[in-house]
């Protein structure tokens, strides 16, 4: 095979990593179809979409860059409160714009706190991110005149989306809004993850020593993805506030960060769909268990966590391997192309 055609094959192979697998298209088709097919379930579907976006933020830093965080709720809550305050005090009246502003605000917070997670072991990062989230919650608690404290932020009214679509009580507008935002930011994440930047993140996660020996500025990359992920979490928080017209200290709770970790682990980290699948499973489970034991459902969450660790995360991941390998074998197209080139090469 000539070097020219080998170069083509390699290029094609690399690009094929990012090509859309039929299962992915099926997934999003189903998501869009649910708007029409499941009109009665839009409320929970909105929650799933928001949780999925939130889980995406954790996947970006944990699944791709290897940063363990028990404090993503900090950015979620920051975005939630920003959106709430923007609406309540009529600073930004259009929800879409307010959401973007909230996301940017959360990203800025992420940028400012990113230096805390650059160094140190997993344990240090867990502690630090936990600490930051708790500090933020404490601040929100103290400044009750601003945040409404334990009662939550009351009196939020969300204007119609784009000035046209009112938020109705069945959640139709809310779901289309949340799903739309999820799709847009998923596509963005997908692009990032398949870029040279995304590959460098994976290399930092896999072997930071080698990554810096290859010329990758580790700190710069980590700050970048941490900031982006914080923005994602903030947008998810803003969506929650806007679709429920309410927010409270619970958005900053430790349980939210812990639940998020569980969500990502159920679905599997590192391939972008884990957070979405985990969000679906988690919400459905929560819905079911809450109908059985509304007050004690954290018990079952705890049991699930214990069980997952005892069984072994790797074994759980291997259960999702069929899905993951299907998604990973994107090169079925490249293989066809490569064999065509090989035939050509042999002939010349």
């Amino acid at each position: 095979m000539s070097q020219q055609s080998l170069g083509e094959e390699v290029a094609r192979r690399l690009v094929a990593r990012a090509s859309w697998h039929p299962l992915e298209i099926l997934f999003w088709a189903a998501a869009l179809a649910s708007i029409y097919v499941l009109p009665g379930r839009h409320l929970i579907l909105t929650e799933i979409a928001i949780l999925g976006l939130f889980a995406l933020s954790l996947d970006l830093i944990l699944g791709y860059a290897g940063i363990v965080s028990l404090g993503q709720a900090a950015f979620f809550g920051f975005g939630a409160y920003t959106a709430g305050l923007l609406a309540k005090h009529e600073l930004v009246s259009e929800p879409l714009l307010a959401m973007i502003v909230s996301g940017v605000a959360a990203a800025l917070l992420g940028f400012v706190t990113s230096f805390l997670v650059l160094r140190g072991s997993d344990l240090t990062r867990i502690m630090v991110t936990l600490g930051v989230a708790l500090v933020l919650r404490e601040i929100a608690n103290r400044y009750a005149w601003l945040t409404g404290g334990a009662d939550g932020l009351q009196g939020i009214e969300i204007n119609p989306l784009l000035g046209l679509y009112r938020f109705d009580m069945y959640g139709h507008t809310a779901y289309c809004y949340a799903l739309g935002v999820l799709i847009v930011f998923f596509l963005l994440a997908r692009r990032i993850v398949h870029s040279p930047f995304g590959l460098s993140l994976q290399s930092i996660k896999g072997n930071p020593l080698r990554a810096s020996a290859v010329g990758i500025p580790i700190n710069g990359r980590l700050v970048a993805i941490y900031t982006i992920a914080a923005g994602y979490a903030g947008i998810a928080g803003a969506l929650l506030t806007q679709t429920t017209a309410f927010t409270s200290l619970s958005v900053l709770d430790f349980e939210r960060s812990a639940d998020l970790l569980l969500v990502l682990i159920i679905g599997g980290a590192g391939y972008l769909y884990g957070g979405l699948i985990g969000a679906i499973l988690f919400k459905l489970m929560q819905d079911y268990l809450a109908s059985l034991t509304p007050q004690y459902w954290p018990f079952w969450i705890g049991l699930l966590l214990v069980a997952i660790v005892l069984i072994g995360r790797e074994r759980i991941t291997s259960w999702t391997t069929p899905i993951r390998s299907l998604l990973a074998r994107l090169d079925w197209r490249a293989r066809r192309a490569a064999s065509a080139v090989a035939v050509e090469g042999q002939g010349s």
Binding site: T124, V128, L134, A258, F299, G302, V306
Partner: protein, 286 residues
């Protein structure tokens, strides 16, 4: 002002007794046990039942609380924790968080979600006057008991064979095993003892810290801060850190009510920035 200092010392020593078990498990077995607070809660509720329902005198209930929590800790260690020792820190965190959630919900179910109080004997209520300063009797008791415990711990660690086995096992497990030290047994005993101490701390602290089902979640961060700031390689580190935290927290909340809680969180974050690897790095030959 002296009362504040005194209260802060009492609070700090209480924190120390509560947290030192966590420091030991982290330093000894490199295991981060976020469920440590659950054992404290168990001790607290045990005391509540013993004193309030069964009428056992408070001082007698304390060692019972210690014992029952220690046995509980031993049981958990042998059946559950032992499977998680070799796993990553993230796994340990997830596991122990799971245990916390389960214990919080279980206690909520069994004991109800409102705060409970121990019926203190009358001679522990009120203040006595020492050198013209009013000192709470209960807090004085706490200082005495915790002080004695600290001395006892220091003695065990430095002066007994068990202590030297423990220190050997901390330093290098493999070598310790090679020397015939039953590392597994040492771990189990230490974990049980640490849990028992937490239970005792919970029993003593119920009055001051407030006992309710979400106790482990409320105070998890405090224990972590003690361990972070104080380090895990000695007794004195967490001891000093606990005192610092106790005094700082009480004084902070009194003098600067709006900033009070931030002080300790900020200290933790600052310490972690300054020495991110230093406090959790394993000492000894690696």
């Amino acid at each position: 002002m002296l009362t504040i200092l005194f209260d802060g010392i009492a609070y700090g020593m209480l924190l120390f007794v509560l947290a030192c078990g966590l420091a030991v498990t982290l330093g000894l077995m490199n295991f981060v046990n976020l469920a440590h607070g659950a054992f404290a809660m168990a001790g607290g509720y045990c005391t509540v039942i013993l004193v309030n329902s069964w009428g056992i005198p408070f001082l007698a209930a304390l060692p019972l609380a210690f014992l029952s929590t220690a046995i509980l800790g031993l049981a958990f260690e042998r059946t559950l924790y032992i499977h998680v020792y070799g796993k990553s820190h993230l796994d340990q965190v997830l596991f122990t968080i799971g245990l916390v959630f389960m214990s919080v919900a279980a206690v909520d179910y069994v004991m109800g979600s409102s705060q409970v109080f121990v019926r203190l004997p009358s001679w522990l209520e009120g203040q006595i006057s020492v050198l013209g300063v009013g000192i709470g009797r209960y807090r004085l008791l706490i200082i005495i008991i915790c002080g004695l415990l600290t001395l006892l711990l220091q003695f065990i660690l430095a002066g007994t064979r068990f202590g030297s086995r423990l220190r050997a096992a901390v330093d290098d497990q493999r070598v310790a095993r090679g020397l015939g030290i039953n590392v597994g047994g040492v771990f189990a005993l230490t974990f049980a003892f640490g849990s028992g101490l937490a239970g005792l701390g919970g029993a003593l602290g119920a009055e001051i810290l407030g006992l309710d089902p979400i106790f482990p979640l409320k105070y998890m961060i405090y224990f972590l801060i003690v361990v972070t700031v104080g380090g895990t390689s000695s007794i004195t580190g967490p001891f000093l850190a606990s005192l610092l935290l106790g005094i700082g927290d009480v004084a902070g909340k009194y003098y600067m009510p709006t900033l009070g809680a931030f002080v300790i969180y900020s200290i933790m974050i600052l310490v972690l920035i300054w020495r991110p690897q230093g406090l959790f790095a394993r000492g000894g030959a690696r």
